[in-house]
């Protein structure tokens, strides 16, 4: 068997994954009847439907020629999502004054046009702006300097 349409194949696989997860996890909840539907009823129907759609997509990928997926922008993917996760992890402990520059510099580094100078200037400017607008102005409960720094 040759995969003729990689996009269809992988998308189908994702559907199958989510569909079967919905059905399997849903077995823990009461299913009820069509008259009185339990919490598992609708998700199980949807899960089954998604499984079938996934299966069609996978089968089709062996028959009909389609597009290849193309290269993933790994640098962008890892640095951008990584910077978001780090921000979430650090924001309470270190405070906004450090977590924001971390987010800006790491995500900025994903660009091929990254340069230290302008990025640091931007990080400082944006951080000051956010502290003034979001923390002081809109009252979002985040520390400027977090407890890890004795703030």
């Amino acid at each position: 068997m040759i995969i003729r349409s990689p996009k269809d194949f992988w998308a189908g696989l994702i559907y199958i994954l989510f569909g079967s997860a919905a059905i399997l996890v849903g077995r823990d909840y009461p299913i009820g009847t069509a008259f009185r539907m339990g919490p598992a009823y609708f998700p199980t129907i949807l899960g089954g439907l998604l499984f079938v759609i996934g299966a069609i997509s996978v089968i089709r990928s062996f028959i009909i020629v389609g597009d290849s997926v193309g290269p993933f922008a790994m640098r962008g993917l890892v640095l951008v999502t990584g910077s978001i996760f780090l921000f979430g992890y650090f924001v309470r402990g270190l405070g906004v004054a450090l977590a924001l520059p971390i987010l800006i510099i790491i995500s900025g580094y994903a660009s091929t046009k990254f340069r230290w100078g302008p990025t640091i200037i931007m990080a400082v400017g944006l951080t000051v702006f956010c502290v003034l607008v979001f923390l002081k102005g809109l009252g979002i409960p985040l520390p400027v300097l977090g407890p890890w720094l004795g703030g």
């Binding site: 069609i56 993933f72 962008g76 951008v80 999502t81 978001i84 091929t112 956010c130 009252g139």
Partner: protein, 502 residues
């Protein structure tokens, strides 16, 4: 007449100093973020939504509506000047708009877009005022079966309008419905698919999903081919259209407005269908039709008017039925619920000041757009020129703080990151996110109405076909889906998208 009384009630509400001010802030911020290349209305609203939480409900919704028009108008500006459409609806604007700009007629194209949008906005406001109340009256007679079928029809429409393969659009819709069910089941109180994670008990926030898939996912995608992004902006000389321009664009604006207003009311379509349809009809009707794509002012005026008219009349199903017809109105419905207003047919009778205030503020917002945008064009141009590698870290900052502020929880930041990855992967696989987001919002509603309908029918699924309105809606849904399978239609659908992408 009642209409006048209602409109003056709306005027009283929306013309209060605070509401005018926030309408202005909304239009201004919406345009400012909307002009940034690659940011469409969905991402813009998701980013700015948390800002409105501190406001009273009417003011917040007026500001959100302002953000919406602003971002859409900003997107058109970017489409015309640099050929980078922020969302599907403004794709057609690039075809003739960018060509006009290259010929040194950017000013006329921008003016055609602004004047067309204003005219369309004025007409669409009247359409909402006229059709809103009767529609709400009709909706009061809707039972759970009708609501369920209506949502099926809306989802079917969003599937037909999605780019790419039909199978994947259906897959994304079903996936969206499933993800929407995560959290506590309202009927039984069971916590579903939460895997013991406390933060998931309330379900996944739609803003989190929208920011992840439309904000983060889009940024990662843009980082793929950074070198190809060019921001060469053509000079804007004169903004005022010539006499010849006026003569040529007015009929197109009129036609675009009618097409956009009618198509915008259909659930699931919003403004996308309108702008595509207006462009292709204009191409057939106009005597310059054969030269479309080479910078004809009709090719800008018609889709831009349709776009704005549709954006506005799509508020009719949202305000009267409580059913969002596209990701943008889904965000608005979410905002209403956060402010303690359950959107639905009773809003008009129970909160007339809110309903009519929003309707009138739409017109005021459009007026502000035209006053604001033509003189401020120099500033928008400078915003477009911001290089992307400075822009996207800033967008990430606003997304991260915004998503945190929803529930003051870091968990939502992580979740947004996950949806960013998911959004990128789906984009790579050619699966469109817009139908998924719509389904995500409709998931719990659909389940609720399905349950109620089945309870009333004692478990017989035939109820959906026995009730005439429900049956009609389902037949329309099936016909819409089948129409994609008809070779000639599916060819047109593909061509429309290819034309748009090219």
């Amino acid at each position: 007449m009642d209409l006048i009384g209602n409109l003056s009630l709306g005027l009283q509400t929306s013309a209060s100093l605070a509401n005018l001010f926030y309408c202005f802030v909304g239009v201004f911020l919406g345009t400012a973020i909307g002009v940034l290349p690659g940011l469409g209305p969905t991402a813009t609203i998701a980013m700015l939504l948390p800002v409105t939480f501190v406001l009273p409900p009417v003011t917040a919704l007026i500001m959100l509506a302002g953000i919406y028009y602003g971002s859409q108008y900003g997107g058109s500006t970017t489409s015309i000047l640099v050929n980078l459409p922020g969302e599907a609806a403004s794709v057609v604007t690039t075809l003739d708009g960018y060509q006009m700009a290259r010929k040194g007629r950017a000013g006329a194209a921008l003016a055609a877009s602004a004047i067309g949008s204003f005219f369309a906005g004025t007409v669409a406001t009247l359409v909402i005022a006229a059709f809103g109340p009767p529609m709400a009256n009709m909706a009061l007679k809707f039972g759970p079966a009708e609501y369920f079928s209506l949502m099926v029809m809306g989802l079917a429409a969003s599937i037909v309008l999605a780019q790419g393969s039909l199978l994947h659009a259906i897959g994304m819709v079903v996936l969206g419905l499933l993800l929407g069910l995560i959290g506590t089941d309202v009927t039984s109180g069971t916590q579903r698919y939460t895997f013991g994670i406390f933060e998931l008990a309330d379900g996944i926030g739609f803003v989190t999903v929208a920011m992840g898939m439309f904000g983060l996912g889009e940024i990662i995608r843009n980082l793929e081919n950074e070198e190809e992004r060019s921001v060469a902006i053509s000079k804007i000389t004169s903004l005022w259209p010539t006499k010849e321009d006026w003569r040529r664009m007015m009929p197109s604006i009129f036609r675009g407005t009618v097409i956009g207003s009618v198509l915008g009311i259909l659930p699931g379509s919003g403004s996308i269908l309108g702008s595509f349809a207006a462009y292709s009809i204009e191409k057939k009707v106009s005597k310059y039709g054969s030269q479309f794509g080479k910078g004809m002012i009709e090719g800008v005026a018609a889709p831009e008017s349709a776009n704005n008219a549709g954006a506005q009349t799509s508020f009719i199903p949202m305000l009267t039925l409580g059913i969002p017809s596209n990701p943008v109105s889904a965000l608005m419905v979410g905002a209403m619920i956060i402010h303690g207003i359950q959107p639905g047919p009773s809003v008009i009778s129970e909160q007339p000041a809110l309903f009519w205030g929003i309707v009138v503020s739409m017109w005021i917002g459009n007026l502000m757009l035209i006053i604001l945008n033509l003189p401020l064009i120099g500033m928008w141009v400078r915003m477009i020129m911001i290089p992307y590698h400075f822009l996207y870290p800033g967008i990430l900052v606003f997304c991260a703080i915004g998503v945190f502020s929803l529930k003051n929880a870091e968990f939502d930041i992580y979740l947004m990151g996950l949806f960013g990855v998911l959004g990128y992967i789906f984009a790579k696989l050619g699966c469109e996110a817009a139908p998924m987001l719509l389904a995500f919002i409709l998931g719990p509603l659909m389940e609720e109405y399905l349950r109620r309908a089945m309870l009333l029918s004692r478990g017989s699924p035939w109820v959906f076909l026995q009730r005439p309105i429900s049956a009609t809606l389902l037949v329309i849904a099936v016909l819409a889906l089948c129409s994609v399978l008809i070779p000639s239609f599916s060819k047109t659908r593909e061509e429309a998208f290819v034309e748009g992408a090219g």
